[in-house]
Subunit: 267 residues, 2 copies
């Protein structure tokens, strides 16, 4: 698998700096986020990555579908789909959203409803929607889709080139049903993201991600499971205060080394 750097791994970098870091370190692909892209300008970013010869492995993020009134979320997601099309992103990542008023079943139903509304729009735009199953630690406040199997159930009614899934190591590594579900996901894996589960967790669990190899996930094993069913980039996405504080270029060099070593033990 070829390497991609998600720009959130070097969060302080502007789009221009992130693109420059990728080029200098021979990283052929980048994962972009909507907010920094908007800051740099959408069309300007599209030209920048194209002229740099970079692939855009993903755009983060659409989703947040679980509010009772979905109109605003749907409008924003159509905008995100347009942005993904302009950037020629390999997929738009959908973060499902959390629970409101203790209604987990209702929240999950609203995710399905929203995907049904957006799928035709995405198909017309030539954008692939990647539903991201999220670690159950985020079920209450961020992502009610908790397993890869559940994400595949949500994707199943739609064409396999329009609605698929993200396999993010951090979110799925614990799942006892993972090997079977990855096999089932064949043709629907739109993104493979890696980072590591570290302990102790920091005070903000959202930043509880280590560089691949620094934690408890057997990433060579997981990558081996995904590889037969996925031909895209492996994207390194790390939210971590220490990584964010480090020099961009050093972080990129470190990521390249770990990728070359097959995500073997570094910790």
């Amino acid at each position: 698998m070829r390497l991609s750097l998600n720009q959130a791994t070097i969060k302080r970098a502007t789009v221009a700096e992130a693109v420059d870091v990728c080029v200098r370190h021979g990283i052929g692909s980048i994962g972009l986020w909507r907010e920094p892209v908007a800051e740099h300008g959408l069309d300007k970013t599209a030209r920048l990555v194209e002229e740099a010869g970079l692939r855009v492995s993903s755009l983060c993020r659409g989703g947040f579908f679980t509010g009772v009134d979905q109109r605003e979320a749907l409008a924003d997601n159509r905008k995100a789909i347009d942005e993904a099309a302009a950037l020629k992103a390999d997929c738009l990542v959908l973060v499902p959203g959390g629970v409101s008023d203790r209604d987990l079943i209702g929240a999950r139903a609203r995710v399905a409803d929203a995907v049904a509304v957006l799928a035709p729009y995405a198909a017309d735009a030539g954008v692939r929607l990647a539903i991201e199953p999220m670690h159950p630690v985020f079920c209450a406040d961020r992502g009610v889709v908790s397993t890869l199997g559940q994400a595949l159930d949500l994707a199943a009614p739609f064409p396999a080139d329009v609605v698929g899934v993200v396999v993010d190591a951090l979110h799925v590594w614990w799942d006892p049903d993972l090997p079977a579900q990855i096999t089932r996901a064949a043709g629907r894996i739109f993104s493979y993201q890696v980072c590591d589960w570290i302990t102790p967790l920091p005070a903000d669990v959202l930043l509880g991600r280590g560089l691949p190899g620094d934690g408890h996930i057997d990433l060579p094993w997981l990558t081996g499971l995904v590889a037969p069913f996925y031909s895209g980039d492996v994207e390194v996405e790390v939210f971590n205060a220490d990584v964010w504080a480090a020099d961009f270029s050093e972080v990129a060099a470190d990521v390249v080394r770990r990728h070359a070593a097959g995500w073997a033990a570094c910790g």
Copy 2:
């Protein structure tokens, strides 16, 4: 369901104080922990709860089976089984243990091995072993059994009156397969524990438990799922710094009120 108070909910209380609080508030059952029981004396505790007319809904805890050398863990678990027998506890809770050296699959296999070794010993002692599936946030460092389905798979080879499961709301509430697995668990649910998932999580995620009704779990719904398959006590087990700091008697009174209200919305 009749109410039980897990003594960890009023962590600063001694065994004697916890028993006294239960009696004064008409709580007919208590969940005990091995360390405070040892402090008070095992036989003395057994007499105390018997004379107070309390049931012992559970003893916490055995388990931690995932080390490569299991001898020490097995010896300690036999001791825990003896203690559960002496206390006439309804079950011994088994916390599986975490991942060593990134080997999640091996860790899970070692849990199965240990249960196979301990089941005959527990049967002889008349003690029921309750495997506790744990929220995936604890997979790395505390519990590699992550779903109720997985716990039932582990229990299945053994007699249904010897090896079963704990259904702890905090650990299982997010599971999309929960209703089906609770039905499947009929006859194997040895303990039902309630607390709530609160946000934001505190810095120590282990203490991220609210009193039932204070968080995002639909406890009336979950209790309704469990009730047809379970005739034991509903045990309130809350690890929470604010609850621990509060007056024992007020906490017990609050728990009794919430139980009487059917764990309806309090937050």
